[in-house]
Chain length 149, copies 2
Amino acid sequence: MAKLLNITEAVTIALHSMVIIARNDSKQVNVNYISEKTGSSKYHVAKILQKLVKDGFLGSHRGPAGGFYLTHEPAEISLLEIYEAIEGKIINSKCPMNKDKCPFGDCLFEDMTIKMTEEFVKYLQEHTLQHYMHKNDQSRNLKSKKEAS
Amino acid sequence: MAKLLNITEAVTIALHSMVIIARNDSKQVNVNYISEKTGSSKYHVAKILQKLVKDGFLGSHRGPAGGFYLTHEPAEISLLEIYEAIEGKIINSKCPMNKDKCPFGDCLFEDMTIKMTEEFVKYLQEHTLQHYMHKNDQSRNLKSKKEAS
DNA sequence: CTTAAATAAGTAATTCATTACCAAAATTAC
DNA sequence: GTAATTTTGGTAATGAATTACTTATTTAAG
């Protein structure tokens, strides 16, 4: 049961949280709400959201009725920015062996890592929060089901 | 300094070792040789090679002049098989959140994980050890440089 | 048969991501 | 201004994956 992609629970929480907050633009969203929605521990959610605040993607207010809100338009926040806010800048690491010199000079496998990483980065860059504002929206699904029948 | 791809040092050692052994088809290759070539600890290399023997990709002989050798033709061993021998069967995990229910029903991000994983798996499937028998070969490089100049 | 070389296998140590907890600071409502 | 709610930030505990080490077993050569 191995996973090819390095997507940690931290990043997953960040992605889902950002969409949840984007969709609730009217009112602020608090840690407990996101924790329940995502089924993740509130301690962990809090840590992730704090990071997103520090990196400027979210704003926050303490106290009753406080919570988190977007500081930019959904169309201006890419998945890549969210990923890098949590995990740090992505490096396209040529030889998967993190050594300076690969046993084969130019690493035999750098084609692989470079191609796959570039592909993934491109995907993350091209998708903004805007893409997820209405995706899997219940009312829309019902509507389209009606139309289909 | 984050990495998008989940390629552990274990897999990297396995990939490089298999190519080194494939290229030395005449004589058996021992742990120390591979450890030096790859700059990895011989303890770790030994563990990886043992796994590859158990999975039938390599044969081994103990004692002086012993070592490891391929049990199949290079063209018949894909990178995917090597990867899975070390890490286990790859799962294409839909929602990156490993929970049964994604907060959005059908996960918003399953398109991403499925697409990227499939892309990567395809690459690994299509590349066999044969592709690496002569890649970055010194003599060939010199030759092509001459031709280019 | 003895010695040396090499793999095999089991166990220990380390690292890293995640989770848990707690006290402090801020804000709102009454 | 008091109490309740909520984020903040620091630190500790956990658990899983990875890496390191040690001893046993096998084999070949002289």
